[in-house]
Subunit: 281 residues, 2 copies
């Protein structure tokens, strides 16, 4: 991507975060926010607050006047503007509101996830490997986590590093351990120093990037790949690790049906400890 394009799409992403934040603000903590409007492209019901958030992302992209593709939970896949066949496509992979339930209940932990991928249509289907930039904004605190592939990760424009904690016994870990058939999660519950489930995977993954969490895992098996497209890059650019629950690379396709589990850690040793505790290795 050209430097001028990086600047352009970065400012688009930041504007998108701002606009979505404003659009949903009147609904936060309100019962009507959870009204079911229709079924989303991913096969789950769309709530009013999610719809309003997504409408705003479309708005922002339409206003750029540039050709761009949007991949998002409710709408699936949307081409905006015309492009030449020979040009690389810009794909915005957006979760307009991660932590919907928190927003509805006014639990201060929800935000937006925006990944920007560049994709040559002569290639195979676009995947997590094509993501060039990632943005995650916490709407309740205004914190912005971001990464540019090859150039590190930042929180509010300051470079961030993950935790160096190597011992699981001493770790603080985000861990979605309910609704899973994974057999050995109680090992983690027994060993871990401190466990959190805050309810927004994009934000909680970002916490691994700056060391607020030493590690994070989601073993429910139904995490949308598109929802972690930004935060995975942020963790990796900070220097952390994100894999599947088996320790394999996570290179899922960028479509709303693709789902996964994941394990993330600030460093290799802690990742290894988690895998051992889960008896994967």
């Amino acid at each position: 991507m050209k430097k001028s394009d990086i600047y352009y799409w970065r400012s688009t992403a930041i504007k998108m975060a701002e606009q979505v934040q404003k659009a949903i603000a009147p609904l936060v903590g309100k019962e009507e926010a959870s009204e079911i409007i229709r079924m989303g492209a991913d096969g789950t019901p769309t709530k009013l607050i999610d719809l309003i958030a997504e409408d705003e992302t479309i708005n922002v992209l339409e206003n750029t006047g540039r050709p761009v593709t949007l991949i998002s939970e409710e709408i699936g896949y949307l081409k905006i503007g015309e492009e030449e066949d020979s040009e690389p496509q810009i794909i915005f992979v957006v979760d307009p509101l991660d932590g919907t339930t928190n927003a509805i209940k006014n639990i201060p932990f929800y935000g937006i996830s925006i990944a920007i991928a560049e994709y040559h249509s002569s290639n195979v289907l676009p995947s997590l490997n094509d993501v060039k930039m990632g943005f995650v904004k916490n709407f309740a605190t205004d914190d912005i986590y971001e990464a540019l592939r090859g150039h590190g990760a930042r929180l509010n424009n300051k470079k961030i590093k993950p935790s160096k904690q190597k011992s699981l016994e001493e770790s603080s870990m985000g861990a979605f351990i309910y609704g899973t058939k994974f057999p050995k999660v109680d090992n983690i519950c027994r060993i871990i120093r401190r466990m959190r489930i805050l309810g927004s995977v994009a934000l909680e993954l970002s916490y691994v990037a700056n060391g607020a969490y030493d590690a994070f895992m989601d073993l429910r098996g139904n995490l949308r790949v598109v929802d972690i497209a930004a935060s995975k890059l942020i963790v990796e650019e900070a220097g952390g690790i994100v894999t599947t629950e088996k320790g394999d690379p996570l290179n899922g396709l960028l479509n709303v049906k693709e789902r996964t589990s994941l394990i993330a850690a600030g460093n290799k040793q802690l990742h290894h400890e988690i895998m051992k505790a889960l008896e994967v290795i």
Copy 2:
């Protein structure tokens, strides 16, 4: 308690919350906040941010010029001012900073818990039953939950009610299920719709009072009774239920060594469902 005293001590509590919030603000998200200063009265190490929070609570009480007793994690038991033997004592039971680890990591979920008990020294030792008012403030959002015994519970001055959800399968529940020897917690993990561990018990209990959570439990067995002195009253005054992990009434003594587990729910039926899932009944 006389009406004029209720007003007086309520405004003292609200001022205390404000002052502590201001005092710790410069340390939120800072590494130095977690510096260990000394051992607290409860036998656990005191961090700098906790000490600053507690110093401020003492300050506020000293400035009232009235006789009052403070019970707090770090200092234990502190008599402020002189009182006549015949008069009922006012006891402030304060957790100056609940969610210390979140505050240090700038995870937006930490606050203060203030319970005000009235105690006649001719009685047995002061217990949760003597608590007349409870205040819990979320420092990251400025939300204030409060209750006056016999007069209901409020969030930001509006009356609140707990959830009517009766089915565990449909419930959102805060659940500290790590670091516990309780045998059947994985039943809850399997059944529950949505689980959270936000890391501040006083605030999470308050979430049961206004229905942000359908239920809450902490099965670690090391929850300080003084830390839930305010939020237990808030849940009960809203119409919810708080018991021990065995379903017994929770009437612990107001001292910093007393510890417990607990189960709270918005209604009797859901409480019963949780007890069944834990195979307590």
